[in-house]
Symmetry: C2
């Protein structure tokens, strides 16, 4: 049974690292002991792995970063849970391809290994990186990501600010551009929100909620607790 | 002699389309009559071409959009000036490659054809698209852009907001990520600012000014009128 926890951001304003999603994370990994960590979205891999290890050890889990092994995929193969942290999505996708992690992660997660992602780590659970907010600081060999779900996530979703004088695109305009080019559903998650997938069931969790974007439809607000299981089955032409 | 006008945004808050850079644009194209327009950064090509044509005709120029011809490069070949408008940089770069416009534009601009870009159109004058703020809604065949200058531009530059509670990256953090991965100078242009290149001379124009980002250095504020000619000669390992 597929089990995923896809979190908008690792840290909300005024809470510590992973604090706002701690209960959900511990529930996801309840049957696991030894977790693999993928730190490639950031530049300083050692520091990032230490920060993550500290939190997960406090919860009673072992956490091994894939970057510390000559064959990163081997860490994924022997772990019984996986966490991919946030940072720059382009950097992360480049390394997932370079380190040949795409296929092993897909296979293990399909076979039931629990998967948790925050920010870029949630974005790469989608078919492509095309709804990231990040700057394309490196060129990955492909925009293809893990495809653990069929829709796209936009993390760190920000509602348009009607008082802004900035002429750059709002997030809604950016997502409208995405829908001009791709007929694929987008779930935008405000900071503090997350998606919990268990088999064929998906629920949006977290008080800030999110927003659903689809081609040809007005964006629809999504409240804490909304059942989104339909999106797991949805076929898309995107 | 190379002549470029690289503008941060087509429209500043409270002014009309291209109004804030009208004097500079008319000076750039003073010796030209017939201009080519590249509209590929947006979805509705016809509407965009009409809007641009309206403004340029008001200034006394003819403007032909490359998308109206079976061979877009032919429009560039016979024009005596080029304007590339803003929108989504990924979409623009994809089409510059697809429509085989990269080499003809490089050659004509090197030979002295005046070039004006706004937003995405300024970004693609750089070696790559890697400092765009846009969402990667389509995957271009390569991140390589026109390379009319050797540094990168970040358009629509926004200073970090110290009161923000949003946990997504600030622009300065995004540009720091770029410098982690690329040893290449970035000129960030606030809305209302632009770079004017004439041969070996480059000047930053516009009251809002900009900011210079370099690996290993603190960002440096750039005021209206700053001479940046050094950047035209600078070699980069990026």
């Amino acid at each position: 049974m597929r089990r995923l926890l896809l979190v908008s951001t690792s840290t909300t304003h005024g809470t510590g690292y992973l604090e706002h999603c701690a209960a959900e994370a511990r529930r996801l990994f309840a049957g696991s002991r030894s977790l693999a960590f993928v730190p490639y979205a950031v530049h300083d891999l050692d520091a990032y792995a230490e920060a993550a290890r500290g939190v997960f050890e406090g919860w009673g889990f072992e956490l091994s970063s894939v970057h510390r092994e000559p064959t990163p995929a081997a860490v994924v193969e022997r772990a019984d849970g996986l966490f991919i942290g946030g940072g720059n999505t382009f950097r992360l996708v480049r390394e997932l391809h370079r380190q040949r992690l795409i296929d092993p992660i897909r296979r293990r997660v399909t076979d039931g290994m629990p998967y948790m992602g925050t920010s870029a780590g949630s974005n790469v659970a989608c078919p492509t990186l095309c709804t990231t907010n990040d700057m394309p600081v490196v060129e990955p060999p492909s925009f293809e990501a893990l495809g653990l779900v069929r829709f796209q996530i936009n993390p760190h979703y920000l509602d348009p600010d009607p008082t802004s004088t900035h002429m750059g695109e709002t997030r809604d305009q950016r997502l409208a551009e995405f829908l001009e080019e791709n007929d694929r559903t987008v779930v935008a998650l405000r900071e503090g929100a997350m998606l919990s997938v268990r088999g064929d069931t998906m629920t949006l969790l977290g008080r800030p909620g999110g927003k659903l974007f689809r081609r040809g439809q007005e964006p629809r607000d999504l409240a804490d607790g909304t059942d989104l299981s339909d999106l797991l089955a949805e076929r898309s032409s995107g």
